[in-house]
Symmetry: C2
Subunit: 457 residues, 2 copies
């Protein structure tokens, strides 16, 4: 082990130089004008995979950008780890807000600045370098490893779910490792074990068949805006509980152990209020803010419209109103079931004098990996060794739909061991990666494989 | 009396020809390109006033279009009636939807088609011709009469309230007669004794200081759209009662007599539902639809906005939301008091985690003339004589702010004796006036003066 870690330490500067070559490729998946560059990033990953000793290296075409696959499967009797990441990046606009050009990686202070530095090329590179370190020092890996590095994460991974479904045998594994998330904060290495899902709908309320004079008709004709507001208001009670029938039936509640673990995290409500300029936080009664953000489902209206939105006092009783209603889901809610619940709620609360249509716009499953599962324990142990700090178990309130796809298609627990930090400007100008974390990330990745091999014995 | 009515009958065709000259003037007050024409209409009224024997004829300038004043004040000991009307018209667009050009008055069937035919030149003309008939047959009027015919009604009468305030002595009177409303239906002559007022506000709800990611922040940060919907929903209870504190304190409730009178009016809910393509009517519990439309206050949201209104599923927790909230008021609600009530309601129901601003956009007082007042009784008697039909007492759900201004500035009861019909396209292409009603309107106007003279004795 000491040889492995010594190799990572002594080659650190070279690793950064190699990473720069990867970061120089403008693999902007959203912009088809960069398709050749995006492919060049896939080729870079494939070449690198070959160079560090992975086998069966393939650039597998999809209807969009290709997926790079490689493996090393000679650890007979040991578990198989599938490492997922992405080589594509967000568009760099607005360019004038970058201190140094987005595709000219530049070290300033403790950080390397470039588009993709933290999201996700830097983190992909950590895993590649950890494999190199194993191969160069031990001539082998402690477990079987497969990697798939895709090129469409920044455009919503449209081709990944069918890819997973079509390659279940090739991708069969015991655990999925993803490094594409953030730590809770500086010097707080974290394993993310839960993500929220999403159920997103549009409501269309229709009252009279045309806009009416609010004086001539107001009082006896249903107003679709008032009706929509009534309907939305009824969707949550005064305790912030969502009122769709059965909404909480499939929710895994926060256990006392999880509650204690989350309470360990520093959270200053005053800082949070200041950050957003809000007078207070709100939410479901009986839960802390972090529990509300990570472990409880929500119902938020993302948009609303109806009637006259211009200047002044137009006295109209409008014909129509609409809203976008988004629910963040937690395990084991199913967005299709939630859709049925919303339709049932609307039918049971149909505002008099109106009709309401429910249109499904988007759905994605939540994810929850048991914190006592092998890969989560292995990641925690690896982080503690690499950082010398007891790591934290965290969740994220956002959604990464592919995480649930991995779980569903491959039946393997997914562990999110991310090395980003909250202020690293992923998707923004001056994206950066903390270099000490990069080096500790390589060690963490290497030690994770070691931990997985022990767990498998 | 028979001579008076005979004169009106035998001169009917000439009256229509004279009216056409008035209708040919494109006195579009909203369009300053027509200012010369608008002034020409004022001059037409002044010339006509002189011709029929009115005195003190003046075209009084205002910051906008002028007001025509004239009087005849030789009925010593008799009441003074102030007749109000307007010589300006709505813009005629869209021109291609007119069967005959808007300023080429054309008789087709029982109607005369032209912009301003019913709103309001035709009805102003009825009063002028009734005065002519009195002067030609009796050489005098049975009461004192003052007329003010303004040129800005179609742009909201911005200069009329200060005009009234500045000319209280000149305009002093015992009753105000306005013919600018409609009858309930064909062959249903009507006196309108009540109008609703208006209190119109904008609500601005602010949550976090920028749009947030609904996954990262949803659950612990107040959503201003949800908060706005809650606030709006709370403004009415399940019985359709407005929940602002003290909202009904000043409301004159529908008396049993009024209820019986309104129940006399034909109203078919099935026709009403079909007209608007609505599944049912709604409204305040305990009141009929007509009562809800005319005699009860309302709260309608005329517009709402917030967050993402485009296509698809943007997962945003928005920073802001807003709505336009309009309340129709009934006597004796004061729109300023209602503003205080709304602010008190918002303060008492301030959604947690947000701030709410209330912006006043518009206010106008309701009007209610006692149905046993002299001018209402006189108008009912005059209509019954002229039409040979027992007339109806009705209200309107809309607002004519100047009606309350007359009441407030001159302290005289206002009676609305209108001869429009629901299908006469006021403000729309093919505006028309029913000619039999025009002739009966002249008789009604003449008989109203006679009735007023009796009431004064």
């Amino acid at each position: 082990m000491s040889e492995l870690l010594a190799y990572i330490e002594s080659n650190g500067d070279r690793f950064v130089e190699e990473l720069k070559a990867f970061l120089r490729i403008p693999s902007i998946s959203a912009d088809s004008g960069y398709n050749a560059e995006t492919r060049r990033a896939a080729e870079y990953v494939a070449d690198e995979a070959r160079r560090i000793g992975l086998e069966h290296v393939q650039i597998i075409d999809t209807p969009g950008h290709p997926v790079v696959y490689a493996d090393w499967l000679h650890a007979e009797g040991s578990p198989t780890v599938l490492i997922y990441g992405h080589y594509d990046v967000q568009p760099p606009d607005p360019l004038d807000l970058w201190t140094s050009p987005p595709f000219e990686p530049t070290v300033r202070g403790d950080s390397i600045y470039a588009r993709g530095s933290i999201d996700d090329k830097g983190q992909v590179h950590m895993h590649l370098k950890s494999i190199e370190a194993w191969m160069k020092t031990a001539g082998r890996l402690p477990v079987n490893v497969k990697i798939i590095i895709e090129g469409e994460e920044e455009v919503g991974s449209p081709n990944l779910p069918p890819f997973l479904a079509a390659h279940r045998d090739l991708l069969a594994c015991d655990a999925v490792m993803i490094s594409d998330t953030t730590m809770y904060d500086y010097e707080m290495p974290s394993v993310t074990y839960g993500l929220r899902g999403l159920a997103y709908f549009e409501l269309h309320v229709v009252g009279p068949d045309r806009d009416l004079h609010s004086g001539m008709f107001g009082g006896a004709v249903a107003n679709p805006i008032n009706a929509l507001c009534d309907l939305i208001a009824k969707m949550k009670d005064e305790n912030g509980r969502v009122q769709l029938p059965g909404f909480y039936d499939d929710v895994v509640d926060v256990s006392p152990e999880e509650r204690a673990e989350l309470a360990r995290l520093p959270y200053d409500v005053e800082d949070f209020k200041k950050l957003l300029t809000i007078p207070e936080t709100v939410g479901e009664a009986g839960y802390t803010d972090l529990e509300r953000l990570w472990a409880r489902p929500t119902l938020d209206v993302c948009g609303i419209w109806g009637g006259y939105q211009g200047e002044g006092a137009k006295t109209v009783l409008p014909s129509k109103a609409g809203a976008k209603v988004s629910m963040r889901l937690v395990a084991h809610q199913d967005y299709r079931t939630v859709g049925d619940q919303l339709r049932a709620f609307v039918a049971a609360n149909m505002p008099p004098g109106c009709t309401v249509d429910v249109v499904e716009l988007h759905g994605g499953p939540p994810a929850l990996t048991p914190t006592d599962s092998v890969p989560v324990r292995a990641a925690l142990a690896a982080l503690e060794q690499a950082f010398g700090i007891k790591p934290f178990l965290i969740r994220s309130g956002g959604s990464i739909p592919i995480v649930a796809d991995f779980d569903a298609q491959l039946g393997a627990p997914v562990v999110l061991m991310g090395f980003g930090l909250p202020d690293q400007n992923a998707h923004s100008p001056d994206e950066k990666m903390n270099l000490p974390n990069y080096h500790r990330g390589i060690k963490s990745a290497a030690l994770f494989l070691e931990q997985m091999s022990r767990a498998g014995q």
